[in-house]
Symmetry: C2
């Protein structure tokens, strides 16, 4: 049975997963859940791939700001653009989600969905992580990939529920996670249907449609799935409400929090981080029945490129 | 092969479906489409079930207005409530979608998603069609159920894309259509996550979130599926943009329009109908490469209760 999660050490986290799957999938179990109701949701940044030194989609936006800056001389003296151009990260962090949104809007307004897909796809295919010097799509967590395959083998449906942009995550979700675009939930900006020169297009507008973070996550789940998940994985305070919503269902539920405590193989951060802050979620995990995953102690490796063999 | 669509007469509509499926599913075909991209979308009202004398969700709203009227004496003199209470349908029709939305908001504000599900579920389990004296969930189109089963057997994913409320359609979509809640797209009102007495709930707010009709349908499809459909079925002008978006894709696409021309077994209506008006869509069908389905001539039966045997 341990073959199923061979990238996980035989510790409580792994055992909790194996035990849960056994309980809900066995027809003899009093906690049996029919396959159509086996919904498992995963945060993306910090849960399925890394998010340091900052959310990767943020790094994409910063590159976009730099690329477009020559056409926008006013950005040199306008926040939050100025902070990006001057690499003044503390100032930028002070603008929070609103600042990022402003960058997203300013750099992608009027673009069609397929133009955005092309642009972000090109970036993902070439841009490299500033310290690890890898493609961002290499920086995915191998034990989580294995976990999702294990759940799907047991007739779970796996969904991403990301604070990041839905159109950004969908560019790589099928190829690197095996998650189809219709199983990605994320933040979005308002999109309009237009016919340009006889050709129908979807055009991105300069306005937030939905912020899929914190209280937004259960709302996004209801909007897209219409059913309460029975499994949720996250890593930061932004995942708390998703955990709360999942755990409040009847019968068996599994909620787990990945703790970034592995400075050697990945990054070590929690309460003070600008990206993926984990403060309340650590304080409340135990009371809420959430189980912690230590990247350092529970995972045999972090990234796929660390090696093709285990043991 | 005709066994697959035995409720359809051997005429061009049926042949177009069988031919399309053969072309996209055969690995030898130049138009082969991998299963993950076999997305088929279906309008609901007038495409999968009836919509006369008015959209069934509208009839539900009218019943709600009548039930709540004793607590709202002001409704006797306030539109659009007055029109509902006086059964003044022409006046109500004049208020259009906006009027219906106002009714929806006034009758369901502050309700949680599960309270709404209970209320609408109770109505669907007991309310009867005003002239056919049947449960509304009996008034589904048997040839369309058979078609959806046929497509799913050929590894298509079937989605509903309805102008009606997403939470309303989900109540019965799995049981009567075999379509899971995560494959239902529809109009929605703003929903908030709240914790009441320690219990997390989703509360309906008095504000439109998304109108999944006309230009909204391609937007809803992009938001939920993230991929252009290759098959679309509809019946009214509200489906035109969904058809346009589907047909504008490369390679093989199938767009079909159900024409309500069967006064004897269902209803006959098109250009002048308050519900499901089909005017532009009939004018433009041929230019847009959309194929018409005549309920009268293409379907061996309309409703499942008409009989268990065919031929």
């Amino acid at each position: 049975m341990s073959e199923d999660l061979s990238l996980w050490h035989d510790r409580p986290a792994k055992n909790a997963i194996l035990d849960f799957v056994k309980r809900v999938c066995s027809r003899q179990s009093t906690q049996f859940v029919p396959p159509s109701q086996r919904i498992a949701v995963f945060d993306n940044d910090g849960t399925l791939w890394s998010e340091q030194p900052f959310y990767f989609q943020g790094l994409f936006l910063f590159d976009r700001v730099r690329a477009l800056a020559p056409d926008h001389p006013e950005w040199k003296k306008t926040q939050p653009f100025q902070a990006v151009l001057e690499k003044d990260w503390p100032t930028l962090a002070g603008f929070g989600n609103k600042g990022l949104l402003e960058l997203a809007v300013a750099t992608h307004d009027g673009m069609t969905s397929s133009e955005f897909e092309q642009l972000a796809g090109d970036w993902l295919a070439t841009a490299r992580h500033p310290t690890l010097d890898r493609l961002f799509t290499d920086l995915i967590f191998d034990p989580m990939l294995q976990l999702m395959r294990y759940l799907r083998k047991n007739e779970f449906k796996t969904f991403i529920v990301s604070g990041g942009g839905i159109e950004f995550v969908r560019i790589f979700s099928e190829q690197i996670y095996g998650i189809l675009p219709e199983q990605v939930i994320g933040s979005s900006i308002v999109t309009r249907f237009e016919v340009n020169d006889g050709k129908p297009v979807l055009v991105r507008s300069p306005q937030l449609n939905f912020l899929d973070d914190n209280e937004g996550k259960p709302v996004g789940i209801q909007q897209h799935i219409g059913r309460r998940p029975i499994v949720a994985f996250g890593n930061s305070d932004g995942d708390l409400q998703m955990m709360e919503w999942t755990k409040a269902g009847d019968d068996a539920r599994l909620g787990m929090i990945i703790h970034h405590d592995d400075a050697e193989r990945e990054f070590a951060y929690d309460r003070m981080s600008a990206a993926g802050r984990a403060d309340r979620v650590l304080d409340e995990a135990s009371d809420r029945g959430l189980k912690l995953i230590s990247m350092k102690n529970d995972w045999r490796r972090v990234y796929p490129f660390e090696g093709s063999c285990v043991n």
